[in-house]
Symmetry: C2
Subunit: 520 residues, 2 copies
């Protein structure tokens, strides 16, 4: 561990402080390493401080573990309790160290696993020892050996069974408690006494762990789940806005290669990274909801049988919205791109729809966060109205998407609603023609880039299709223009899914009895 | 646990065998429950048998755990070793039960955690005890208590640090080993002796666990990782085909509601469900690769420093392909759908591109599975050629996508390549017109369905926009037609990403020194 930490610090030095080596070099002989050590140490302390400040629960949790261990140790360190409980009390330390979990629910859950596991193992061990003892002195070790083998095999097989996987820890407890009781009972005699001693020292450890966990600054899994879900709403809204903003501002000139971007992990898109973590959140939400079920009513969640499972459902619907954001993001990093000015044409409508959708998401997040239930009718209306406008705009300008056909003389088509397009080009009357020209120019400029797809085996294709290169170019142009249609379709689909999200959020609000609020 | 199993069986009865109750009812009095118990018992046995047969490693693992426990127990059950090792040997049972993991690599990893944790805790405990003893009789318990508190807090804080999370188990081991040694040392005297006794009994347990795990039918994490990745290639290929097939065969009439489909978890799309598990596989691949790093060269992977990390990278690129499949799937379940005959128009090209892409994926999977490295030039060429055909076809027929404009009299446009469209409609000369008619008819038929979007607040909209209902309808029609463009764009983007997948697979093949094979 120490080695690991040291090496990570050393990497940290190299990056930001290029001026440091020179300064230390000047000092040369005396205290050469001192400065070099002090600076990373201070940096490291700052990092730890930041980490602790980010979520003070981390510090609370650490101190609580220390306290629980100390309390259990007192049972041995002080003379009076030691004389009462004896050396077996050592098992309560083990129990605290293994059972103490981050949240109250998880601790209860683990405690339940440990208690039930120990109990089952204890009962089974006592039964087997009685059988073994009555089977005679010679057969006894064989019976015990066989039973250990069977318990080991059966518990290991059962913990692989999909529906029993969450109780994996319980099976481990059964296995080692059984072995410990039966083996030490065999050697030390009086197995029932051994079992009882061990069970009550485990119980003491469990009680200490639970009391410290619940009574001193409890960290509730329910609260964590609640916050987690609110955070996911926000991160989907953020990444939607980020993605669309990037799509509209991107002029396509400085696109890094896709595979490089994948490996770099999209460093310049923090919101997207957060959104991707939303996609991988199902396991975390499940486990938090699972823990929250074990918790008694507390804080803001005073209702009995609070619908924690509903949080998981809302999370699932939100994830389905996030998949659309992933697809939008795929469009953004696609190798075939609509030319910049075509994207600019629909800029207002796309931005409007995006902002409305993000606002709806944030409003849902805020309501959830405040445990209020308001009707989102007006916001939904506005989102849908802005999507309608986007659809209609795409519809009216759809000839732009198929413009590259010289076969079709479409100039009879009137430029129905091109206010911002014409203002872009600076012409008034023949706006569409100018647009078409700019479009073709851009395509020519992007020619190199378009030809980078397919990025491999291009030469082979060139040979194969040298005769057809012009229609091929045209097909690429058309596909490039249609990529805008793809982007907007995905955006519209995202909005369509918001309906279901609102529905799921309403259902949650109803079941969790959030405060009703009249919509403005 | 028993209760749990029982209830799951009871649910199983209800579903398939509706004839059973009548039969048992006839028997009434005598042995009423017998039949009812026998049948679910047999069913349950069959399920367990199936589960075991699916992956015989599960049985192997279970028997190995049983064996390891038995071997360690022998040290106590037999008189001779017990007289040598004494009661401390009980710790080796605990070690086996806690350390024995499914794969060799994971066991090594856990063993390393346990060994290093125990060692650090032991050393630290001995140092603290020396300090405490030299600080005088009064201060001793305070020093020990403080040290326990500090160790508990610091290890708990450290295991929350993101880069140290994988070593969580190691920190737990440090904590409880430290407490056990220092506390029992305080009460029983001679802490160094206690520490040493405990360390060697832990070492014995660890050695038994490792030997049984490695020597008897070892389950290698590397092998699992290899197979897992191959499986993911296949599942992406399967779900791509399934999705496209469904998209082309779906006439849009019997669409279940989206939210219902989300909740049903897409029961009728097994391949999609598999693909979705591919998306959530990053954690599993990471942990398998992490375990595999601990394994010595073995079986097919005899190379030193086998590039297991490269598997994770290929998995990441494959996941980026799978995101496109998710988007395609989103299109399939989108509420705004291209009319059936429009989808039918591009049927041949879409199917061709899909089949070629799936074939490429399967070929990659096969090569990976056989650890061969062949150039996929010809397959890539064919995939790209088929995508080109699709692009060109979309390009030539793109007027179909924007057909609903009555303002533009596009009938001057010649039906450039409409062989299968006209054969579909049974007309020869005026194929495009006929197509346009059918298109409008279908739109009319789908009118009700299109209006189901937005599914909420529709009435409010109706009031707001009663004057504009015709342009709105048109916008929806246009968006519906463009949804086909979306689908094909996503398909093309999927193919574009295959390039990067082939690159990543080539890189893996190079680093892992797969057998070179000349492409056919």
């Amino acid at each position: 561990m120490n080695g690991k930490k040291g090496s990570s610090i050393r990497i940290d030095i190299g990056l930001p402080s290029s001026a440091v080596p020179r300064e230390t070099a000047r000092k040369s002989g005396s205290g050469e390493g001192d400065e070099a050590i002090t600076i990373p140490l201070r940096k490291w302390m700052m990092e730890v401080w930041q980490f602790a400040r980010e979520d003070t629960n981390r510090v609370t949790f650490s101190l609580k573990v220390g306290l629980a261990c100390l309390l259990v140790s007192l049972l041995i360190l002080l003379r009076a309790p030691y004389q009462v409980f004896g050396a077996n009390i050592i098992w309560s330390i083990l129990t605290v160290a293994i059972m103490f979990e981050y949240t109250v629910g998880a601790t209860f859950n683990r405690g339940f696993n440990r208690a039930l596991g120990s109990l089952l193992a204890g009962v089974f061990a006592v039964v087997v020892i009685q059988v073994a003892m009555s089977s005679g002195h010679v057969a006894e070790p064989y019976v015990i050996g066989l039973s250990i083998f069977l318990v080991g095999s059966i518990t290991s097989f059962m913990k692989l069974w999909p529906s029993l996987v969450p109780y994996e820890y319980g099976f481990r407890v059964i296995l080692f408690t059984y072995c410990l009781i039966i083996v030490s009972g065999y050697r030390m005699g009086n197995p029932i006494r051994t079992a009882m001693d061990r069970l009550y020292s485990i119980a003491i450890g469990a009680i200490v762990a639970v009391l410290v966990n619940v009574l001193i600054f409890p960290i509730w899994a329910g609260e964590q789940l609640h916050r987690e879900l609110v955070g996911h709403f926000d991160s989907v809204a953020d990444s939607l806005e980020e993605c669309v903003k990037k799509y509209l501002s991107d002029d396509g000139s400085d696109h890094p290669e896709f595979s490089k971007t994948v490996m770099d992990d999209f460093q310049d898109e923090p919101a997207f990274r957060k959104c991707r973590s939303t996609l991988n959140s199902s396991a975390k939400l499940d486990s938090l909801a699972n823990s929250a079920k074990w918790e008694p009513p507390h804080g803001r969640f005073m209702q009995m049988f609070y619908p924690w499972a509903e949080y998981v459902k809302v999370g699932a619907v939100l994830r389905h919205c996030a998949y659309e954001v992933m697809a939008l993001h795929g469009c953004l990093h696609s190798e075939i791109q609509a030319p910049y000015n075509l994207r600019y044409t629909f800029r207002t409508e796309i931005l409007d729809a995006t902002n409305q959708a993000a606002e709806l998401l944030r409003s849902l997040a805020k309501d959830l966060s405040n445990m209020k239930h308001s009707l989102h009718t007006s916001l939904l209306k506005r989102v849908h109205a802005s999507t309608e406008r986007l659809q209609r705009s795409i519809d009216l300008h759809s000839y732009l998407l198929t413009l590259s056909h010289d076969v079709c003389d479409c100039s009879t088509k009137p430029p129905a609603k091109l206010s911002h397009v014409s203002s872009l080009n600076g012409t008034d009357a023949d706006g569409k023609k100018a647009e078409a020209e700019t479009y073709h120019e851009t395509m020519k400029k992007q020619q190199r880039r378009l030809h980078s797809w397919p990025s491999r085996e291009v030469d082979d294709f060139e040979e194969d299709m040298s005769g057809e290169s012009i229609p091929r170019m045209r097909a690429l142009e058309s596909t490039a223009a249609l990529s805008l249609a793809t982007f907007t379709s995905l955006l519209i689909e995202f909005v369509a899914r918001l309906d279901h999200l609102v529905e799921a959020a309403d259902e949650l609000a109803k079941l969790a009895k959030f405060k009703q609020e009249i919509a403005c």
